[in-house]
Symmetry: C2
Subunit: 295 residues, 2 copies
Amino acid sequence: MSLVGIDWGGSNLRAFRFGAEGALSETRASPLGVSRLDGRSFEDALESVIGDWLPAEILVCGMAGTRGAWREAPYVPCPAALDQVAARLETFETRLGPVRMVPGLSTLTAGGLNDVLRGEETQIFGAVDPAATALVIAPGTHSKWCRVSAGRIEGFRTWMTGELFAVLAAHSILGRLMRGRAHDEDAFVRGVSFALEDPDIAGLLFSVRGEALLGRLEPQASAAYLSGLLIGAEVRSGLSANASAPIILIAAEALADRYRTALSLAGEPPQRIVDGAEASAAGLSRISGFIHNSI
Amino acid sequence: MSLVGIDWGGSNLRAFRFGAEGALSETRASPLGVSRLDGRSFEDALESVIGDWLPAEILVCGMAGTRGAWREAPYVPCPAALDQVAARLETFETRLGPVRMVPGLSTLTAGGLNDVLRGEETQIFGAVDPAATALVIAPGTHSKWCRVSAGRIEGFRTWMTGELFAVLAAHSILGRLMRGRAHDEDAFVRGVSFALEDPDIAGLLFSVRGEALLGRLEPQASAAYLSGLLIGAEVRSGLSANASAPIILIAAEALADRYRTALSLAGEPPQRIVDGAEASAAGLSRISGFIHNSI
């Protein structure tokens, strides 16, 4: 049977259809993310997106495997290589046929705190050469910085950059002086630069208001300035917490541009940028290939 | 005429009535904060709270003097002593008689960014001995750390600690695993301790989720842990950004307890704790007294 790979995140779902030879033949995107199902069942939602591709082998990664979602695939502790993740797939029967769920990873940070990711393990297996050593950054709602050595994910840390931006812009006093969310490169670079110099992001955030009230920040540039502060703070502390290694950035175009700018301002431009959907597709294909070769 | 002092903040209003001899004779609190007027006029709102105290001299500090509120009293740049603030009161006629509005302060942070406060200048003039040197901390939605020397406010910096807690608990993924907001001293201390050790608050926040998912943080203790992380980060970076000086904490009981705990864990317990309403009343009385003595 040919493979259908699913990257099922919180806010959307991506489906990849592979041909008999393993080549990607079709991609679909749907807004039916795990937290946007509105009472629909996971089976119904998935069938509405890929029903006409069935029967097929179904392999799912991402938030659908978290506790309380479709079917929990418990976290695999780091360090974790592809064979360890593949050995812990959660297989279960559905109306659409058997489904395999890829587990997320857990790690202990330097300070001894638990951290988790789900979906990025698959993107990393797809984006990073099995022999490579790299620092992989997967920005987004929750940005993940992952140390990879000889294809093994050694550990990682999460920055809530995207979500902080969203909640501060929508619900805090900082959003009140914003007009729109258009990108303003000057304001973005200014925010990044301040955050690269000053390690204290909690003390920098209020400058969005102070600078605006004193007339040095335009309402239509405030969102880009806040984005720059937050991404700059992430880049500063992510780089200082990790040994130097070639940086691979997994992100779609607009976000990749922002992180490339911030990393370059910090003196560490990314060596390679990989589109997130391509990384997911390649990772799902590799995990499936590994299972079939090892059976 | 006797004095009626008003501390008019975003979420509530406090009114202080002083007797002919200048002693505080009555205090009222109202939920009619600047951002909760629901279309009511400032004059109507104020009259509903203190109409029976009129006629009187009316002196107002706080958010009511910000741009777009009742009447803008432009920021006075730091360093600023009481006489400079008193010289810049904004006086205007109202149905309730003439009103004097106390201006807020602006400052440039070490990094050259604008910061502002409004209301805390009055509390500081009320809480700090005119000859004293102190580091004044006024925590809350926006926590202010103010350097005071010989009664003059030299400069300050804002941490958005209270607002970050509120928006993250209400609107982010961190709030989803919380059950209630009850205080849990152990979890609070644990959060403070992590943040005092690790300068990277942006990278620590997600541990609220990681620790909960891995079973090391109870849902009913998550809010206190997040509060500890945020207050700990503020205390760590506030102390590192300021020269050592006796610390005066201006806050009401519950918040004062949290900050006393965090400051003590950092090795810098406050020398004195002053209730916020008492500080506002004393400051309004001092400003009024200064005007009458200098006329």
